[in-house]
Amino acid sequence: MPKVDGAPKVTGQAVYADDIDLPRMLHCKILRAQLPHARILSVDASAARRIPGVKAVITGQDLPIRFGILPVTQDEAALEGEKVRYVGDPVAAVAAVDEETAAAACDAIKVEYQELKPVMSIEEALKEAADEPIQAYTKRSDNVHRMVSYEFGDLAAGFARADHVREDVFFFQGSTHLPMEQHSAVATYAGGRVTLWSSTQVVHYVHRALSKVLELPMSRIRVIGAAHGGGFGGKTDPFAHEIVVAKLAMLTGRPVKCTLTREEVFYAHRGRHPVLMWVKTGVTRDGRITAMHFRSALDGGAYGSYGAASIFYTGTLQTVTYDIPAYKFEGARVFTNKAPCGPKRGHGTPQPRFAVELHLEKIAREIGLEPVELKRRNFVKPFSRAVNWLRITSCGLEECTEKVLAASGYADRQRQPGRGLGFAISAYMSGAGTAIYWNDMPHSEVQLKVDRTGVTLFCGAMDIGQGSDSVLAQIAAEELGLEPKDIHLVTADTDTTPIDLGSYSSRVTFMAGNAAVEAARRMRALLVAAVAQKMGVADLEEIDVADGRIGEFSFEEASVLAEEKFGALASAGSYKPPRIGGPFKGSGVGPSPAYSYSACVVEVTADARSGIVTVERVWIAHDIGRAINPLLVEGQVEGSVYMALGEALMEEQVYRQGLHKWPSMLEYKSPTFLETPEMHTFLVETDDPEGPYGAKEAGQGPLLPVIPAVNLAVQDALGIWIDEIPVTPEKVLRALEAKAKGEPPRFGPKVFPSVPYPEPIRVEPPDPGDLRVGDELEAAFPSSPRVR
């Protein structure tokens, strides 16, 4: 089933934010810090204001209210007035008649700084700050942002029971989303209302941030998601430029546009956190895990962003892939003077996924078990509850594993130097179980209108290319017996559409999909009732809804009958995930109404002389629950595999002396057509009881197993361990050198730093068969803290 927005996108008609050109529109440029860490002593914009064509200049004083995506970290300013914390931090903004004038005016703004010592690594951030901490609100003398610690079940007993225990240290370097579209936003101010078009994944959260910073009620702001040129998590925060153009529109009374340059996109970032990890696992002789202790330290960059949640994500989902009877997780995020990290496809989970897959492989070899066999023995079971209370529904791990092993011939592969296969698995959430800010309202809502113009579906969901519009149209069409092309869509506009929380955490098909099913079924009931009355049929079940007909009538005739009978035809549906998290504080990050599962085998050739690794073939199986649109699911799987290959082998957001090393597309290496391997995608259907028609997510999960599978294929090919991502030729050569010298054939971090983690919150594990959620769960634990 092709996408509903195929035609506008292949003809150049889709209107992206930067394509918007309004009468009298001004152009905005933002002056950004060129120092990684400094106090702002003064900002003098007088020369800039005198430049002909400059209509407004604003600085930190004009936008003093702080914001941030998470309620606990409202630490960003649209324009910083006190200090700058990374190269790229916004300091002032200009609206002028054209971009060049605005840029020239930025150059004319004089900012006086007092330089502070930048903090550029996790290790440095853990130490006492030299001058002052990057963020004062942590009230600490070091640069630790937040720490968490949990112990589920009896860890000591678990390790005591083990026949074999192993520890490893891993590092996963940060990378960025690199969407092809540079972020862009356009604002107007008319009649006391702000309208903002933006390239965002989270129309609603941008709406909230604008309201807070501009001190306008949400009813006086309208946010519209323009056609979207790629997000991958990189457009999931409210951004400075969105607030700045709104403010400038309010000041000048003219439309204002700001499109980031590619260099600025690298600074906007919110990409993959660099994470150091330490993991210790105990297993029995036959390879059953008895206990796992996992530590992470995340390099967060200069601001909070999603970081408080990212910490949890490096720890919580370990238990929904492998059955871990006792689990301790300690996580910490530090501030550094780098562009802020946040959620990139897989948010906080690719790093531990990589670590755990390699770690188990090492354990298996040590105890003389085939690694795949060890992993399989520990797969979680469908319809069970993990030690940290996450509830697993459908789970196709076994089926996915079967598929990729069989297709790749993994078990009988010919071992030859320079060629190798690697296997790994993963799980991911189909939407976060809780909203980003606490509220009890639905996470997604859909409204339907039927009249003489046909069917129109309204939903706040933002199609970022993944095809959410197509899925909504398909669901409504399915329920109403129509074709997707018969459904008109109005999406991602806070004035005209009911809320959807946004395109993040793989939630849209699941949540907006469930809301659409409900809205469409309600509409169908109205149509069927009217037709049944006309036909004199008492049993509504007898009325068929299919192929553009409802009973004896065409859809159009049926809608006339229904409108005659009921008046205006409108229906609505909504979805809110049930409460799933366990009875302990912090149980709100990780629960999802359903988890998708993936398994992957990657084949590489690895050249021992150059260290160059080439991915030849990828076999990936994904448990999608049910594929509502197989073509779109395949697209998501292939896109995830591609992005994973980039991360596994080449992509790095790295810094040198406080500066981003490569803020350009030429130097930030990403895979091209030439690096595209042969990809074999298998969709496994497990019919999840919670998902719309049984569907689960596809946009993020398939990325996860690919990275460790690439790494393990290199291991298989060359007999070396690269305990770091990306696997660059240099690291391969270093490990080979070590091997040649008779040293451990490994490249990677040697020690995990000492982190002042707090005492763990100790949590009694649930009965693995306890699947209660929602009211039932709440009733069982009346005194537990509210799940947040």
Partner: protein, 166 residues
């Protein structure tokens, strides 16, 4: 302060032929073809990802050859035939490449799509039945972050097959 603001902007009368239409424009000489197409001619189907010649997103055809419009000056395009994505369809009838891209989901966010369509069109003119490697080679300068390239390669193959059969 930037030098271009200190002295009067030099403008030139420029004649461009885009998608078969003639335009006469009085343009600042430093403006790129990309900017002129998007801002002066309102042909916003041509996208940009870097404006530095690094991503291929802004690809247009100049006398049938794929070129990066962010690196071209309009003067360099005078007297030549320019094709943008808006010029691919014949009236309302989409080019077979456009049909195949829409059909196979080769456009996810669609942002890289105009540039890739044009590069692919040039390829199919040069080599109507390209091999997989030939397609990869021809499109290697165009980045796409959404699709993993797979559906794009398949769509070019499908279009090529259909055009051969037609």
């Amino acid at each position: 302060m930037r030098s271009e603001l200190d002295r009067p902007v030099q403008r030139e009368l420029t004649r461009l032929r885009v998608n078969g239409e003639e335009f006469e424009l009085y343009l600042p000489v430093h403006k790129t073809l990309l900017e002129v197409l998007r801002e002066d001619l309102k042909l916003t189907g041509t996208k940009h990802g870097c404006e530095l010649g690094e991503c291929g997103t802004c690809t247009v055809l100049v006398d049938g050859e794929p070129q990066l419009s962010c690196l071209l000056l309009p003067l360099q395009a005078e007297g030549r035939e320019l094709t943008t994505v808006e010029g691919l369809a014949e009236g309302a009838a989409l080019h077979p490449l456009q049909v195949a891209f829409a059909e196979l989901g080769a456009a996810q966010c669609g942002y890289c799509t105009p540039g890739i369509l044009l590069a692919a069109k040039a390829l199919l003119v040069r080599d109507p039945r390209p091999s997989r490697d030939g397609i990869k080679e021809a499109l290697a300068g165009n980045l796409c972050r959404c699709t993993g390239y797979v559906k794009i390669i398949e769509a070019v193959e499908l279009a090529s097959q259909r055009m051969a059969e037609a």
